[in-house]
Amino acid sequence: MKVLGKWFWLVCLLSSLETPFLATAQEGSFLKEEEAPKAVFPEATSFDRKVIRSTEELKEKIRQRMGKNKTSLWEDSYVTFVAKKGELTLGYAVIVEEIGKHRPITFIVGIGSDRKIKDSALMVYREAYGGEVRDRRFLQQYKGKELKDPLLPYRDIQNISGATLSVEAIGRGSKKALALVDIIYFEGLERK
């Protein structure tokens, strides 16, 4: 027991040292806005940033497309990016927010020109539990999903036990991003 006690305090001491490999934590900010589009479109050479103001008309259109999935948070505006490789448009990325259990989760959804999710990445996670939604192995489930898919745990998404609300939030946010890109870029609401 005494030996164990010594080991315990040794680990305590070691953990108090600031070293580069102790750089990340479960909750917090993981991606800044300028880094986010590159996380979902790593092959892109340029990004056109565009802020879309959230109007009542836009909300109504998003609502219609989301169906039974109701968003928990309406943003005032959406930061979007058009990802390009040279002159070729690779797709669109949208930063969205949804409430997990108590707090908003901020993440970016990359949508290809085929209207399917290309990739997602968590930017800020504020909940005490359920940080596993940040894992690549969880987020990669959304690749290839489109607006008509349910994006719900136990339906087409593998749930994380104890983090069901966060899993549902990522699904809702992804659906909101798909709806927004559909309205703004594929149907061209911005040009009207």
Binding site: S15, F21, A128, Y154
Partner: protein
């Protein structure tokens, strides 16, 4: 002559002219002096005004700066406080149950299982605090005390009113420092990481309305779940390969201990003398949250490996002295294996726990030596009207307990229910059917202990088996709320009473060895 007259006139007139000139100069000088004096007064007055104005300005600036500083400090203080309050999230979970039982002594009843308040507060970046306060079967606790003089003395009255079998308990209260994903420090009242249920015990996470035997009903865990201990340690998780993830927890804690519980019984026995019984029971309970009763500390660790999302296997271990310092030192050793496997809508989840209480016989002997007599009676003249009996007992000890539970779950949702009230208002409602199988083996379960004069006179143990099967159906409109329905069949060795191997089934009949029960539960969280 003319010259003379002129000279005379000049001589006479010159002093007059000179006098007039002098008089003019003096006037001018006076005038100038007066002017100068006026100017000096004006200058002095102007200077005074300037100084007054400057002083006022200085005072105003000082006041403004002071106000600014105060308001800035106050704003900062307010902003920190508001931020903290804003970010502190209050949650809760709870459950109630309606149960029927085939046992004669159990009534059909509603049970308020528990209501647990939770707060989660991010103190600063990487620092957070978490609290769970449980009200179990709790309705009231009231204390009345009165002290007043009476003829020839002082009278003190005390009355405690409380609800039966109720408890207020601190389930968790810890602070965590996130050093990295793989290394987080946690200290305080932490859940012991033995098996998977104790660390995931929230009622609304489960689909059956009763907790498992291994964790609660006939606990194989050294203490009943939810089982917190006061201690500190590390936890974290890290990736292994492309998909795999390892999660670990390790704590040093006060640990489970044999602690005393005093039970008082007052018995009216006309025409015999009334009797006051005090039963002092030494049983394993969660460790103290103040001075530890023993010198050794306990350790617990759990390592879980998730090869991919939805699946997990884990091993956990607990070791620590359980005897207080006034008894011989003996450890309790416990290990567990648990896991979960998912195939689409179908899940298997289970846990096996094995606990060894070392030296139960030695503990009984040591207890006998310390207490000397298992019971004592007084019947002196001063207590002639009341017979007093004190009994000492060792309870809930077995040399070895082992058991498991395994849940088979299937989640489904018939589309036609979307048009009904069950599905119309919810985005992802579910029905979950569950079958749970449980078994617990008791080896060397302490049956009776008697001692006189510090020596054991009776020490009987027995081996027992407890089985339970549960079929359940739960409806979840949203993830944190469930309506549950379940049927249970519980059985122990033929001819033996269920009440001696469980802590929730009471039976005054020795031969009630099985129970049929139907349970309906409601559980929620927010």
């Amino acid at each position: 002559m003319k010259v003379l007259l002129l000279a005379t006139a000049l001589t006479v007139l010159t002093p007059f002219a000179s006098f007039a000139q002098e008089s003019d100069t003096r006037g001018e000088i006076r005038e100038l002096r007066e002017k100068l004096e006026r100017l000096e007064r004006k200058l002095a007055a102007d200077e005074a005004v300037r100084e007054k104005k400057a002083a006022e300005e200085r005072a105003a600036i000082t006041e403004t700066v002071k106000k600014d500083v105060i308001s800035e400090v106050s704003a900062k203080g307010q902003s920190y406080f508001s931020k903290l309050v804003d970010q502190t999230k209050i949650g809760a979970y709870g459950s109630i149950r309606y149960g029927t039982s085939s046992l004669d002594d159990l009534h059909n009843t509603f049970t308020f299982r528990r209501f647990v308040l939770t707060t989660d507060s991010p103190i600063a970046e990487r620092l957070r605090a978490y609290l769970e306060l449980e009200f179990e079967r709790f309705t009231e606790l009231e204390l009345e005390r009165r002290t007043f003089p009476t003829a020839g003395g002082l009278r003190v009255e005390q009355a405690i009113e409380g609800s039966n079998k109720s408890e207020i308990s601190l389930e968790q209260a810890w602070m965590q420092y996130d050093i990295a994903d793989w290394l987080k420090f946690r200290g305080g009242a932490v859940l012991v990481p033995l098996g998977r249920f104790n660390i995931n015990h929230d009622d609304n996470r489960w689909d059956l309305p009763r907790r498992s035997l291994v964790d609660r009903g006939a606990p194989v865990l050294p203490s009943t779940a939810a089982w917190p201990e006061l201690g500190a340690g590390f936890l974290g998780d890290f990736s292994v390969g492309k998909q795999g993830r390892v999660n670990y927890q390790f704590y040093v804690m006060n640990g489970v201990t044999l602690d005393s519980e005093v039970e008082s019984v007052i018995q009216s026995r006309f025409p015999r003398r009334d009797k006051l019984e005090a039963e002092i029971e030494l049983r394993p309970t969660r460790g103290t949250f103040s001075d530890d009763l023993k010198s050794g500390k306990a350790v617990a660790t759990r390592w879980a490996y998730s090869p991919w999302l939805g699946d997990e296997i884990a091993a956990s271990f607990y070791w620590g002295r359980y005897t207080p310092d006034f008894l011989d030192s003996h450890p309790v050793v416990s290990f567990a294996f648990d896991g979960k496997k998912t195939w689409g809508s179908f899940e298997i989840e289970g846990q096996y726990v094995n606990t060894w209480w070392s030296g139960v016989n030695g503990v009984a002997k040591s207890f006998a030596r310390t207490v000397r007599d298992s019971s004592a009676e007084t019947s002196g003249a001063e207590t002639a009207e009341l017979e007093t009996e004190v009994e000492f007992e060792l309870a809930n000890l077995a040399t070895r307990k082992q058991g498991y539970w395994v849940d088979f779950r299937y989640r489904f949702w018939p589309e036609f229910l979307n048009a009904t009230i069950l599905g119309r208002h919810f985005s992802n409602p579910q029905l979950i059917s569950t079958f749970r199988a449980e078994q617990v083996w008791f080896s060397g379960l302490l049956n009776s202990v008697a001692f006189t004069g510090g020596a054991l006179t009776d020490f009987k143990t027995e081996n027992r088996l407890l089985n339970r099967f549960t079929f359940g159906l739960a409806y979840r409109p949203v993830p944190l709320v469930a309506l549950q329905l379940a049927y249970e069949y519980t059985r122990t060795n033929q001819g033996k009473s269920l009440s001696t191997v469980t802590n929730f089934l009471t039976s005054s009949k020795d031969r009630e060895f099985f129970q049929h029960a139907v349970l309906m539960g409601l559980t929620f969280g927010f």
